[in-house]
């Protein structure tokens, strides 16, 4: 595996000494002692951070000191330089951050869709399907004894129940949309606060980078952790400049961090939907955010939930129109042509059924005015009641299918949207986990390895210390010989 940037070149254990003498042995020992000490210190730091997420393990690299006169090929001068190396793999870090965006997006979508699913999953027979069945069945029941006032009253009750179910379902989905909208504003605040932290760390890293300070690796670990967190929230890309600062930008546009400066995202209000828009410097950048939690929430809020709401509106509008039209073709108990069963729906703009489900209401109040009879027939005629009941199995031109099938299709779509969000989420989670394992295999701390290192440094330290004792004895001997 490719070894990454060498962050720190740092520790000089000693100065080169040109001449070999008995004292130069002491210098070598001294350099060795402090080098082993540094090794122990770094090992201790690794052990302490064995469970710190995002920590990149450190290693001390020893390089032999070279004798000053290369030509004469004198023996080496012992350990000269000990550099600290951070085991960071920028490539894996970047890939993790990219996959986290997909994970954040799918998590957000799944969280929302799970709630939608619960609304439409009605094993107990609640919901639009049973309300529609009940409504049409009330016409079938009326067809048996069309003059019955109690069965006529039942038609009105079932029609009212149907409108209530539409209201309830529509409002619940709408509430979910508003909930997503609140998540949008919360997430934007989180993004801004993380961006500010990244900018601050950028500044600190630039300083540490310039002065070769010892804590640069820790700062970088912290910044990488924040970049990962930011990636979960939004689809960002980043690159590092020569001073060690990262520039962070949304993949599609807005820049969030340049050097030590943050460019915060702001919130506006859409004049059309009344929902939050995301702006930067007065420009609407909402559609540029495609992934991450924010992208996922926006997709749910602006694409998926509106589709469901539109389907409910289309179904409601289709029912209102078709039932009223058929009802007008019959006559009531008094021989008068049928009026509206539902309050007629007027499209706000041609082709749009927005508001049909939410505003669905029953218009008819007097059970006698239900037009169960065929034209010019007496109160016992059920001709129109039969036709009204038969609407249930008609293919609506506006829906391209029967109302029951249309609702079943909606249920299918909601289920499969939930299933695909769930599956994608699991795939992304597995992918991120594999990448994190890969990252750990390279950057993570293995306690056994550290234990071995401790022994190694300890033994080397003991040996160097022993060497000092030997030289001490030698010099004592020498001084005694010289008549001390």
């Amino acid at each position: 595996m490719e070894v990454s940037v060498r962050d720190f070149a740092a520790h000089r254990a000693g100065e080169l000494i040109a001449m070999s003498s008995i004292f130069s042995g002491l210098s070598i020992a001294q350099r060795s002692l402090s080098a082993q000490q540094l090794g122990l210190e770094i090992t201790q730091r690794n052990v302490a951070n064995a469970n710190t997420p995002g920590y990149s393990k450190l290693r001390v690299n020893f390089e032999p000191a070279i004798a000053s006169d290369v030509v004469t090929a004198q023996p080496g001068m012992g350990v000269a330089e000990a550099t600290i190396e951070s085991f960071r793999n920028n490539f894996i870090d970047f890939r993790i951050s990219q996959e986290l965006q997909g994970q954040g997006e799918q998590q957000a979508a799944f969280d929302a869709l799970q709630q939608v699913e619960a609304l439409f999953n009605d094993p107990d027979g609640q919901g639009i399907q049973s309300a529609m069945s009940d409504f049409f069945a009330s016409f079938s029941a009326l067809a048996n004894t069309p003059e019955s006032l109690s069965l006529r009253q039942q038609v009105i009750q079932r029609a009212t129940a149907l409108t209530e179910v539409f209201h309830q379902l529509y409002n619940r989905v709408k509430e979910l949309q508003l909930q997503q909208d609140r998540i949008v504003s919360d997430t934007v605040q989180d993004i801004n606060s993380i961006s500010a932290d990244v900018a601050r760390l950028n500044a600190e890293i630039a300083v540490a980078h310039g002065t070769q300070a010892n804590d640069e690796s820790a700062l970088r670990d912290e910044r990488q952790r924040l970049l990962s967190k930011l990636s979960e929230l939004m689809d960002i890309s980043y690159y590092e400049d020569s001073r060690g600062m990262v520039t962070v930008a949304a993949k599609q546009g807005p820049v969030l961090v340049v050097g030590d400066i943050t460019k915060p995202l702001e919130l506006g209000t859409s004049p059309v939907t009344g929902l939050n828009t995301i702006t930067q410097g007065g420009t609407d950048v909402t559609t540029f955010i495609q992934s991450g939690k924010l992208g996922g929430v926006l997709k749910v809020r602006d694409t998926i939930l509106p589709e469901y709401l539109n389907s409910l509106d289309d179904l409601a509008a289709g029912l209102i129109q078709r039932v009223n039209a058929q009802h007008a073709l019959g006559v009531d108990l008094n021989g008068v042509a049928g009026g509206n069963i539902f309050v007629p729906f007027v499209q706000p703009v041609p082709g749009s059924n927005t508001g049909a489900a939410r505003g669905m209401a029953v218009s008819i109040t007097d059970p006698e005015t239900i037009a169960a009879a065929g034209p010019a027939a007496g109160p016992g005629s059920n001709a129109n009641a039969n036709l009204l009941a038969g609407i249930q199995n008609e293919t609506f031109a506006s829906l391209g299918t029967t109302p029951g099938q249309f609702y079943a299709n909606l249920v299918y779509r909601i289920g499969s949207d939930g299933a695909s969000a769930h599956d994608s989420l699991q795939t992304k989670q597995n992918l991120v986990q594999q990448l994190e394992n890969q990252r750990d295999a390279f950057s993570g701390v293995n306690l056994d390895e550290e234990a071995v290192n401790i022994i190694r440094y300890q033994k080397a330290y003991q040996a160097s210390a022993r060497f000092v004792t030997v030289i001490d004895n030698l010099t004592s001997d020498l001084l005694r010989i010289l008549g001390g």
């Binding site: 069945s133 048996n144 027939a377 007496g378 016992g380 059920n382 029951g404 299918y412 750990d440 234990a451």
Partner: protein, 292 residues
Amino acid sequence: MNVTTSTMYRSFLSNLNSLDEQLVTVNQQISTGKKNVYLRDSPASGAESVLLREESAEIDQYKASTDSSGFYLQAADSALNSIQNLIAGIQTRGIEATSATLDATNRDAIAKDIRSLRDQMLSLANTEVQGRYVFAGSRILAPPFSMVGDAVSYLGDTQLNQIKVSDDLTVQQNVAGSTALSPVFDAIQSLLSEIDAGDQAGIVDALAQLTSSLDPLNVARGEVGAQLGKVANVKSELDTEAVNLHAYQSRIEDVNAAEAAVRLGQVQTAVKATMSAGQSILQQQNLFDFLV
């Protein structure tokens, strides 16, 4: 691959999480009895359930409609049956009136009997069941036959109600009195006027008219009988259909209890095994434990 401590913890936790999720699913399957706890578990069967419930509700309504149609058809059938019996009595008395030995008093007595039988007929023709006059077509709120002198007129109409009793079968709920009964009343009126006039040839003619007026009545009665037969057949078909539908619905929606119980055992075992494996990870010794 260099296996680090955090890698071990991570995979342990992830394994445990996924098992927990399975445990929750199986538990919910058992407690709800439903195969698919969430819509996303099988969107197709979710959609199919919607249509099956619609179908099931329709069958329930068909069953109610067969009961109701049967009720009114029975009423019509028994009224027509009684009317046929009364007509037989009128015919018998009419034939007696053709005898050359009868005097005016005898004929008056016969005419009186026939009028009495005719009045019973009229009452049956105005049969009312639960507020509806069954032979009135769609004008069910008022008696369809009214009599002035011996003339019986029909005030109903000929609208016939069809009742849907299965996806592709309807039952005719009523017969129009004008078709079934008006010719008979007309023939009886002729018969009475001929008897009153003592015209024997006329009486014979009127009796012939009465006989031929029975044809539409017989046809109507046969029609009612046929509809009743249809109702009986459809009813048993609907019962079979409902049973099949519920069986199919259950196959799609309901969990197999035995399978779910076995699955629960499997997942629990896996959780235990993972736990004890996890214990060895959590308590795993490393080299530090051996350094003194």
